[in-house]
């Protein structure tokens, strides 16, 4: 429970920072950076935090279900633009994965050889 509190405090601090500084990233991403900095300062991951984080991350897929169910709000629009949307989504997602992974594997390898 203590560590869930810590996670929520980081998220809240992230939301406040985003609001105050008009940052173009979401509060939870800033919260992730804050918790990360905290871990660097501590120098290890406390056992309880590890358990809490693992619990949350193991069920991460579930957390997208409510937003995904929002598809029912857009049946009409999706039907009208089905071809451009689906082809763009399929091609773009695959292209992004291939470009990012091949480039990273190639650049990462050169670095490791040094």
């Amino acid at each position: 429970m203590a560590y869930l509190t810590l996670i929520l405090v980081c998220q809240l601090a992230g939301e406040l920072a985003v609001g105050a500084l008009a940052m173009p990233v979401p509060g939870p991403v800033v919260g992730m950076v804050l918790l990360f900095i905290l871990l660097i300062a501590i120098g290890s991951v406390p056992k309880g935090l590890d358990q809490t984080a693992t619990g949350l991350l193991n069920s991460m897929s579930l957390l997208f279900v409510p937003a995904g169910t929002g598809v029912m709000l857009h049946f009409k629009l999706l039907g009208e633009a089905l071809l451009p949307l689906s082809l763009a989504l399929i091609f773009s997602t695959l292209a992004t994965i291939v470009v990012t992974a091949r480039l990273m594997q190639w650049l990462g390898k050169e670095r490791a050889d040094e």
């Binding site: 871990l39 991460m60 709000l73 992004t96 992974a101």
Partner: protein, 243 residues
């Protein structure tokens, strides 16, 4: 008969009912996914969404009523994103060692995601609001929605496209990575997170911790990169495609 009706009216109005249904639908979909040896075609997020949409349509429930219960699950996305700091910390040595490679690959991936999505949808006749809703599709939902609004898209459509992109990436990402011969877990994770944000990260975490950490990192960095780059190149794109 009447009391059954009353019970249903009562239950369907409490958050408990749709919260429970969300969890049950996911358990059923996840059970099928595991039973089928984690067959990517049985993606549990997709399965749960299909079950819930069917249930809501059959019972004539609107999304707002559903979300009153489901919001408790939805809320945990924030804390889960913060929790990604833990795998990231564990991989910090690896991340720092390849910082330049990560930065270059990520920016290339971010631009690929935007340009290929907008160009393909434009080619097949997508209107300007459709293009604007689609452009930030690879980024985590809250950022993508804010960007879409800024560009003149429909934020709630963007949310659906973001989830669809995540599910598609989680389903076919590992297969395409095998196909193009990428075995490096850092590269695989970085690609999954750049293209398909949190859903890709959830998938990567199931397979390998290094991949999960790099995916979480990529998700955060791509949110930042797209938020900074997309508004700048949007003007050029619209002019170029003359839409």
């Amino acid at each position: 008969m009447n009391s059954l009706q009353d019970t249903w009216v009562y239950l369907s109005a409490t958050p408990l009912f749709h919260l429970t249904m969300t969890l049950v639908a996911f358990q059923v979909a996840n059970f099928a996914f595991e039973k089928a040896g984690r067959n990517p075609l049985l993606n549990p997020v997709l399965g749960a969404v299909l079950l819930l949409v069917a249930m809501l349509l059959i019972t004539g429930t609107d999304y707002g009523t559903y979300f009153e219960g489901a919001q408790f699950v939805h809320f945990l996305l924030g804390p889960a994103t913060v929790a990604l700091a833990v795998p990231l910390y564990r991989q910090w040595y690896n991340v720092r060692r390849s910082a330049l490679a990560i930065a270059v690959s990520l920016i290339a991936g971010s631009l690929t995601a935007i340009l290929t999505a907008v160009a393909t949808a434009w080619f097949f006749g997508g209107s300007l609001p459709i293009l604007a809703s689609l452009a930030p599709k690879s980024v985590t939902a809250p950022v993508a929605m804010a960007i879409a609004e800024e560009l003149g898209g429909l934020p709630s459509l963007t949310a659906v496209l973001v989830i669809a992109t995540g599910i598609f990436g989680a389903m076919f990402g590992p297969g395409i990575l095998n196909l193009v011969g990428v075995k490096d877990w850092r590269a695989r994770g970085l690609a999954m997170g750049t293209a398909s944000h949190g859903i890709g990260t959830a998938r990567a975490l199931q397979v390998n911790e290094t991949a999960g950490a790099f995916s979480g990192l990529a998700m955060g960095l791509n949110a930042l990169a797209t938020a900074l780059l997309l508004p700048i190149i949007w003007g050029i794109l619209v002019g170029l495609l003359s839409v």
